[in-house]
Symmetry: C2
Amino acid sequence: MQKEKVWDKLSTDTEERMNAANELFSDRKVVPSQNGVALLEAVIRAGDRINLEGNNQKQADFLAECLGSCDSEKINNLHMVQSAVPLPIHLDIFDKGIAKKLDFAYGGPMAAKVAEFLREGKLELGAIHTYLELFARYFMDLTPRVSLICAYEGDKDGNLYTGFNTEDTPVIAEATKFRQGIVIAQVNKLVDKVQRVDIPGEWVDAVIESPKPFYLEPLFTRDPANITDTQVLMGMMALKGIYGEYGVQRLNHGIGFFTAAIELLLPTYGNELGLKGKICKHFALNPHPTMIPAIEDGWVESIHSFGGELGMQKYCEARPDIFFIGPDGSMRSNRAYSQTAGHYATDMFIGGTLQIDKYGNSSTATASRVAGFGGAPNMGCDAKGRRHVTDSWLKCGAEFEDQAALLGDMPRGKRLVVQMQETFKEKMDPSFVEKLDAWNLAKNANLDLAPVMIYSDDLTHIVTEEGIAYLAKCRGLEERMAAIRGVAGYTEVGLSADPKETKTLRERGIVKTPEDLGIDRSRANRSMLAAKSVKDLVDCSGGLYEPPARFVNW
Amino acid sequence: MQKEKVWDKLSTDTEERMNAANELFSDRKVVPSQNGVALLEAVIRAGDRINLEGNNQKQADFLAECLGSCDSEKINNLHMVQSAVPLPIHLDIFDKGIAKKLDFAYGGPMAAKVAEFLREGKLELGAIHTYLELFARYFMDLTPRVSLICAYEGDKDGNLYTGFNTEDTPVIAEATKFRQGIVIAQVNKLVDKVQRVDIPGEWVDAVIESPKPFYLEPLFTRDPANITDTQVLMGMMALKGIYGEYGVQRLNHGIGFFTAAIELLLPTYGNELGLKGKICKHFALNPHPTMIPAIEDGWVESIHSFGGELGMQKYCEARPDIFFIGPDGSMRSNRAYSQTAGHYATDMFIGGTLQIDKYGNSSTATASRVAGFGGAPNMGCDAKGRRHVTDSWLKCGAEFEDQAALLGDMPRGKRLVVQMQETFKEKMDPSFVEKLDAWNLAKNANLDLAPVMIYSDDLTHIVTEEGIAYLAKCRGLEERMAAIRGVAGYTEVGLSADPKETKTLRERGIVKTPEDLGIDRSRANRSMLAAKSVKDLVDCSGGLYEPPARFVNW
């Protein structure tokens, strides 16, 4: 027989750590903010796997500062597993040697710094994930030992109210606490009774009222004033040639001016095309201010959100038939569930990118920026586990020419995955390239694979100002490449197009120009937008939308 | 300007319904069980979308009986959205005209009845989903109006303890309650204070103590006494030729004797191959009793579970370093998160099927059974949104011959998706067929597509008693079909194999027989199993495993 085994090392260790922090508590689970650093130094060990909550919106910024102030002689070589690293402090923690390894999903403004630290050996990269994939690993091989989360309110028993910006908190807390880990929450306000229990108190070990409210980034706010005529044209093409053509009822919209334009075209051009009630009924979507006119015009039946959006809280609360509102009257977002909906329950993903290669692989990575792709790969892929049928999914599968080579005579649907991009971006950088810059990043950052946001075999349509390429209809890779060249304009890739070949593709409906789609270019301008400014959005909302100061110029 | 719009129809309607039920409550949120039918008649309206909790394990059976006892003159044409329909009452509800439409994931023992009702027009099928996909739609276009859920304990404020069998409850409750819906819970025991808050009281509208504990099915218990020598042989092949070959550390095991055999070979053959610490470290897995010897032998680092398994509760609680155990000392399962882990964080899915066609598409559907596939499509597919790299994923992608036709020169990994099946099943039904019976089901049940569990392009390996077919290594569909023929034995598909072609495939390592793998057939027998009976499993667990009576014969 084997020697007696110990099966509760984790809980014993947790108990020891919590005991070491005992005197830092002022009342039940409450720790005064001035004890924040001491608390982390008591419960964190060198080499620990640590989650620091923070996505592209809410940030456990006070706890991040506390972690950054820990003594790196004691606390070092941490393995950070966290959705995003958008704040300077996130990288400072590596700079100080407190953390060493990073598994994440989104770099945001710190993407260049991540690449720099990788080169300098200050940071070791685990992997770049899509959000839901990272959450998945919290229950597999990347469970956090200690998690630093954030909430609006907390009480002395640890109950948390995360409300509008619930975002990643439930999935982090559950994975950590149920593997004997330690969960520490910063809260904007310590209260006697939380407005609503979003996280049960038993899941939380310590609550700290932070000196100021957590940082929130209005990442999904696009000022209609900045939408260009070209974006209007492309939006009209997408609406008629894809949304209408496939009858897309359930979808996600990413960040960006292209989809903002589409949102603002629904009550105008969308109505003109007679599409209300036929498309855009259900969304997995952050509460985009540019959705207000379409919602007010009765287009939308439901929206489930990954996170909140600064300024949109009151508007969402006043539209409980549309958004997911709790019994207390405030919204609850949930990134894990919304990403799940985005993966399995939507018929289309549409968004922008930085570069598309001649095969149709696309990426926002550049040679010197470890950007990460957030939720895009999860929604911008063909969800192969999907089994339910919708008209648009079935239609795209039916026209997918290469399916027989994969499945024999077995039919299957296909999700619409659309990339919208002008052929040239600012500074005249071409969007279509022979080889993605991601290859150079892979070399520079010593990655196993070039970071691709959307792979060619998942991509079904490209929309540029030149036209739409219907890639699923192509026979084989060569034809797909020809279709891409056909909409790539004056880029190197586009210039290699054979006009005769493009003409044939147009005749077969694989490439469609605005004219092929019956769109009058002279109408494609900003006058088509249902709102032309942030002020228009506020008015349309009846004053419920409260834009952040940086968007207010009246 | 438009006329004044109403944006709170849902909450107004909910309030009206709850008011109608007002006098049925005895104390705060408590409704006596004899008022169960009256409660449902008060809060449910004809045509409602209703969730009735019940997966392949725990069942809200009392509430199902209550629903089945409602007056079909009042309550009819319900649209049921529920994970599974394994109980007779689930179909009775349709028989009585109370429900009309069904969206689900798993039929289990009622699969034939579902097909029958479809033919007779008693039931209209929305779609067959994989679990996570159905959950996804709860946040998109299939949000329940009323959900009938179940828990071990509930208190007067609606707080629920769902513990070991938390399973689907959190995702159902959140989707329903936050879209202004009504959540009714049956509990085994009404208590003053629940052991642990799994569902906050505010998410629950009514709690009913059911007359008897909810039904639990020990679906994942396999008696080692019933494992055959052939299953041992195939298990040895899989361990050496796939688990060991690819170094599979993170995985799921489905239901069945093939994977039960593998679990029981880890402490014997697995150790002999020197694989401990190199494979099978992290699982998304129900607490299979046949995992006990491998856990005790130190193979496993973590297991996150979809649900509980009858008899395994004490064992799991005594192994908190392995399972996900809460602060109260009891386990919390979670199907939504475990399926997410199964989709995005595992390197391999392995399981059995009923039929594989000549192209490699497989299904458990037959002409007269609407079976559904539970979690299999979610885990038995290539997760295209995945971006993190592991050795096994990278290796399978590198040997995937057809990748260049899809992606050009862009490399990508590939998940291992393995089907294990003897070439003939009981009654000598061939496992390999020209055309799946699923085609006939599609015709009989008027489905848009034949229900396929795993599509050919996701399948990477087939293991039969003849050998392993390494499908990802094949060049094109024709060669993949030849490899399938090469392991299909004396089935019609297998008999059409060209021996010369199979020989070439063996030389190229695309087909490997036990001899090619260096496995001595004479050793492939039950003596290799680490436990040969349920009694052995109990002993190995130190008496912690308490098997259900039907498995106890000593």
